[in-house]
Subunit: 390 residues, 2 copies
């Protein structure tokens, strides 16, 4: 099979390297940035790839513009697409699916969620004969590296973030990671595969910007550590929910065993029970390995990972039905500013006017909204859901 590649950065170069020496595949052209052509196989004009003899184009550019233009044009020209670009799939996955179905082409994007972890393909197969009750996990290596570093080395947030940047685990602008948005984009992909629904609004996101060394210290005394977890699933009403938020996870639990930048992807099937997949969520070769698995899947005849029903993106539930207890840190004024919906069940401790408490069960939506309201009034608030006992 003749393949061309859009992008020659961290992932694109890894894909190119892995395809070398594989007798099943020939790489025809690799699109590089203007002025970066240093070898014959590199081209600086997208049109060269659009008109070459490749049957499959692997998109590793990142971003939406011009990735959407390029991938949709390739499909219109009869080329199948594999993408590692979660922003592209979250924004235009259904548009690309429509073209792929019309032209009978493959459109796969395993590497866009979980790096090396094959969560999307396994969900795609499992849902054909099992009911996926929920799916999600620890899907951002940058934030997990920061949280693990704070936990095991007692660092503050700024210090842990600086170290993550220095070691290449965080980008210069880490906003998408630490805000939880990167995790939510992966949840959006999981939701598309598991539920045929793109949650494009009304989800709840809390990142890790508010976490402090004191939170880890109090959590540790209770036997917990802190992880950032995203999840989507079906509420009792049958409506979909989706959220990203910190969790207090019991030491010794699977969540607490996820160290450094490792990722954990999970689903719960009515018949299969809890299924967990651990691996490298980022990095050149792990991510490229997921793309290469998709290349094999295309070779094996797979067309789509999204089902035919996944044609209409619509809003999901706002996690109103997901109810859990929360660990909350704030001042007295902050606790007062949390709306009536968030009731303190037990104050754990107080230090210098800052209180740590466990709430009564409250919905994800109410907790997130109450914290936003208290913050608007100038109060510092950290909150994390209490992991249910396994």
């Amino acid at each position: 099979m003749v393949i061309s590649i859009l992008g020659h950065g961290v992932v694109g170069k890894g894909v190119w390297e892995m395809l070398q020496g594989n007798p099943l595949y020939t790489v025809r052209n690799v699109l590089v940035k203007k002025g970066e052509k240093t070898a014959d196989f590199m081209v600086e004009s997208f049109d060269t790839i659009l008109h070459d003899d490749s049957e499959l184009v692997i998109e590793c550019m990142g971003g939406i513009d011009p990735a959407f233009e390029f991938t949709s044009k390739c499909m219109e020209a009869g080329k199948s697409i594999i993408s590692s670009n979660k922003a592209l799939v979250a924004a235009h996955g259904i548009d690309l699916l429509n073209i792929a179905r019309r032209k009978n082409l493959s459109f796969l994007f395993s590497a866009a969620c979980g790096g090396a972890i094959p969560i999307l393909q396994n969900l795609c197969l499992a849902r054909q004969t099992d009911s996926i009750v929920w799916a999600g996990g620890i899907l951002n290596g940058t934030t997990n590296f920061i949280l693990d570093n704070m936990d095991r080395n007692g660092l503050g947030f700024d210090e842990a973030l600086a170290q993550a940047k220095a070691l290449g685990y965080a980008e210069a602008d880490p906003t998408a990671d630490i805000s939880g948005m990167d995790t939510m984009r992966k949840i959006m992909l999981i939701s598309m595969v598991a539920y045929d629904v793109l949650p494009n609004s009304d989800y709840s996101i809390e990142g890790i910007q508010s976490v402090s060394a004191a939170d880890f210290s109090v959590a540790a005394k209770l036997g917990y550590t802190i992880r950032l977890i995203g999840r989507c699933g079906l509420a009792d009403s049958g409506r979909l929910y989706a959220y990203v938020q910190p969790f207090l996870c019991r030491k010794g639990s699977l969540y607490s065993s996820i160290l450094t930048n490792t990722n954990l992807a999970q689903y719960h099937g009515t018949n299969a029970g809890d299924m967990s997949f651990l691996g490298q969520g980022a990095g050149r070769y792990p991510t490229a390995s997921a793309i290469l698995r998709d290349v094999s899947s295309v070779t094996n005849g797979q067309k789509q990972i999204l089902s035919d029903k996944c044609l209409v993106g619509f809003a999901c539930n706002n996690a109103k039905e997901c109810v859990m207890k929360y660990f909350v840190r704030s001042t007295g004024a902050g606790f007062s500013a949390l709306s009536d919906k968030v009731k303190v069940e037990k104050v754990l401790c107080e230090e210098n006017g800052v209180s740590f408490a466990v709430t009564e069960p409250v919905s994800v939506k109410d907790m997130h909204e109450a914290a936003a309201e208290a913050r608007r009034k100038g109060n510092a608030v950290f909150f994390a859901a209490l992991q249910e006992e396994a």
Copy 2:
């Protein structure tokens, strides 16, 4: 698709239930034992299924005789086979593959290794574009339940085994589980899928019959617990090794987080890195869920999980090249009876004439043989490999 099922026990009944109400599939006949027919869809004669209009037969009988006769006859009659029977696949997988290839039929057996965990299918896909350095894990729920119970509740082996029997986690005759043979059969299947090699001799197996409460107590003081782990892989020479043995696993590690009867299947890919899959390794619905995934895969057009090269079973390396440190418990006479190949690096403690020690690095084969030799001379020996630091 019309399907018939051989067997209506724990797994077979689960498969039958899960296929009800799925509009894609019709169950024609279910083979039950003589005198157990209680419904129209049940038949007591295999010939009825052999001559029915099913395209796919799901074998959930267990054992080799008559499962091999029935499955091979079904294939000769043009029916694809899905099996949950690891004894059958370990003994006759290559025979069945040969018929399936000749007749262009599907032959899948996901449920035979890891229950609900999709390790075989993921290995099958991953190996097409990555090098599998090793694969294995905690693949027997009975032994893990016993070990976890001894660890967390301080029970002795006999007590923990009795409890496992009472709760239905161990069979009346638990020999295959506690001897490590069940785990080795799963390693044989993993090896066939990952390496095209059926290790049918020259592997090393140590079960958990020798473990005692004292071993857990000393291990805990060192910060470890004990797990039974099977593994196969390629040694530096390129030869395959395969073994099953207890490991001392550091508390807080992924291995130590595998509780009760949960299973863990892993592989290490040169590009993907460490990949881990956790889930239910047994039980009606988890096991049936793996069979149903195979049904989807057959529907999606998959023929084999074994490669064309997996035609000749041959012996593997005997783990001579796998070298590690061991934790050993024995008496003074026992340590003397361990051959010269096993050298004590450090004595950890002594109690009532029984010593606990860590050895210098020694090959798996030498350690297993030395322990067998010391036992032949009447000495009690427990040994467990020391988990390398992650």
